[in-house]
Every structure is written in structure tokens, then in C-alpha cells.
């Protein structure tokens, strides 16, 4: 019989996470499992074309990191009360990071939300969940936001 003791929950601090974090809370409670919130920070190369001095870029990086940590802390505090939560910040493409982390064998399940974008954006972005579902060796629980049902 399998067991679920560690749940990986990728979040995007720029988006609404509530609709799947509430499932993470429920699953953590029912399985008596720990939750790890993972935020994949966008790769830095998008700053390379901007004419900024190094110290400005460094400051920007430090600020954005601190803000991400604050957002994750807030999420844990507001939506995962009474849950054993840890926070991970990594830099890179979300699907690569998620798959990398599931390969370590440290997690028994991934819980992730999808986005209800339309058109080209949907094709491009929906693919994070899709790719994780396709390639993950760990069970993946996928949840759609309520507003794009139907």
C-alpha cells in the first residue's frame, strides 16, 4: 500500500493559489502529511537586455527574493494553518524544477493548479501542468480554478 507523507505544492506568487492550496490543506490533514511550497522564480536572463548597472540588478534580485519569501510565508500563514509547511525558492522553469524535485523521491504527491487562460497563452501556459502530469513518476493532483469551469 502506498502512503503520502510529503506533498509538493508548486505555487506562483503572482497568481491566485487559493483554489488548490485548500486541497493541499485537506490532503495534508487526511494523510497526515507535510507540505512543501515551491516557488520557481523566473530565470534572470530577462534582465540582461536592460541597461542597468550591476548593483541595481543585484538590488532588484534581492528585493524580488525577499518579496517572494514574504508571499510564501503569508500563504502558509493564511491558508495552511495547522499544517506542517516548509518553503522552497528555486530559480528556473517551473516544469523542470517540479520534475527534478519529484525525481529525488522526497515527495509522494504533487498538488498543482492550472490556469484558465485563453488562446495562445493557454496553449503555452497550460503546458506546465500537462508536462508534469506526463513525465512525473510521482502522482499528480491537478485542480482547475473555479472560474474557468464549464
Amino acid at each position: 500500500m502506498p502512503s503520502i507523507k510529503n506533498i509538493l505544492v508548486p505555487v506562483d506568487v503572482m497568481e491566485d493559489n487559493g483554489f488548490f492550496v485548500e486541497y493541499a490543506k485537506m490532503m495534508a490533514e487526511k494523510h497526515e502529511a507535510k507540505v512543501t511550497l515551491l516557488y520557481a522564480r523566473p530565470p534572470l536572463d530577462r534582465f540582461y537586455d536592460v541597461y542597468l548597472t550591476d548593483d541595481v540588478v543585484e538590488k532588484l534580485k534581492a528585493d524580488s527574493k525577499q518579496r517572494a519569501i514574504d508571499e510564501l510565508d503569508k500563504l502558509a500563514e493564511n491558508q495552511l494553518q495547522n499544517t506542517d509547511v516548509s518553503i522552497k525558492l528555486r530559480r528556473g522553469q517551473p516544469q523542470d524544477l517540479i520534475l527534478e524535485m519529484t525525481e529525488t523521491g522526497d515527495y509522494d504527491m504533487v498538488i498543482m493548479g492550472t490556469h484558465c487562460r485563453k488562446g495562445m497563452e493557454r496553449v503555452l501556459f497550460g503546458s506546465v501542468a500537462n508536462r508534469v502530469v506526463k513525465h512525473s513518476n510521482t502522482p499528480v493532483l491537478t485542480i482547475h480554478p473555479a472560474e474557468c469551469k464549464g
Binding site: Y23, K30, M109, N130, V133, P139, L141, H144
Partner: protein
């Protein structure tokens, strides 16, 4: 707080689906939920191109359905002994069958495998999980077969 009271478990009896059953049992137990096990048999339209008399096709369909019912009962018995399980057999494209029965049975979670078939089958079947994940309006747990 979210609750999950009824789980739809989609199985493919042409493949080993016991790993899906293991997770379904675990989740049903932890969530105190009931289970509907669904097996979709392939749509008949795939035989339309063959030059077979209608009654041969009907007979074939009948036999295959009887076989599928038997297989499903056997699967449920060996994987869900003692659990509260409803069995459903339906003819059609797996994603339509799974999504349809999920709605009809008021399921609030779907559990299914991402099978690693080969060749064309892989392209065809791999997409069942993708389709269901994309189109379901309830959470979907996808599980990969053990190696």
C-alpha cells in the same frame, strides 16, 4: 474546507491497473469516500471499415462486453475486496466515458493511470489522461505505473 466523498477510478483492463487501485484504496480510506470503478470498452466504430455482416459485429460486441464485465468484476474483487465499490462498464472513447460518468455520479475526484503504452497506442492512450486533466471540472489524480 473542501471535501471529497466520491471517487471515480478509471481503469484500463488491457493494462495492469493495480497501481491505480492501490492509490484509490488509500484515498478512499483516508477521505472516507466511496468508489466507482469505470472501465471504458473501445467504441464499435473502429470495426465499421471491416466487411463484416451486422450480426457478426453484434455478436462480437456482445461477447466482448460479457468478457469485459467479467474482467471488471474480477479486477474489483481482487483489488477492492471489502470496499464500498460501484462497477461501471461503458462503451465509448475513454475520456468521454470518464468525464460523463464523473458528472453523472457526482464524483469529486478522478483517479487514473498514465499508461506507458508503445507506438500508436501510446499516442492515443497517453492523451486520455491529458484530456481528462484538461477538461475535468473536478480534481484529477494521475498515477504512473510502477516500473
Amino acid at each position: 474546507m473542501r471535501t471529497i466523498k466520491h471517487i471515480l477510478v478509471a481503469v484500463d483492463l488491457m493494462e495492469d491497473s493495480s497501481f491505480v487501485a492501490k492509490y484509490a484504496k488509500l484515498f478512499a480510506e483516508r477521505l472516507n469516500a466511496t468508489i466507482t470503478v469505470v472501465y471504458a470498452t473501445p467504441p464499435l466504430s473502429q470495426y465499421f471499415g471491416l466487411y463484416l455482416p451486422q450480426d457478426t459485429i453484434s455478436k462480437f460486441h456482445e461477447d466482448s462486453e460479457k468478457g469485459a464485465i467479467r474482467e471488471l468484476a474480477k479486477f474489483v474483487e481482487s483489488n477492492f475486496a471489502g470496499a464500498d465499490v460501484v462497477q461501471r462498464l461503458a462503451n465509448g472513447h475513454p475520456q468521454d466515458v470518464i468525464l460523463g460518468i464523473a458528472k453523472e455520479s457526482n464524483a469529486d475526484l478522478i483517479i487514473m493511470g498514465t499508461h506507458s503504452r508503445r507506438g500508436v497506442d501510446r499516442i492515443m492512450f497517453g492523451s486520455v489522461a491529458s484530456h481528462v486533466v484538461k477538461l475535468a471540472d473536478i480534481p484529477v489524480l494521475t498515477v504512473r505505473p510502477e516500473k
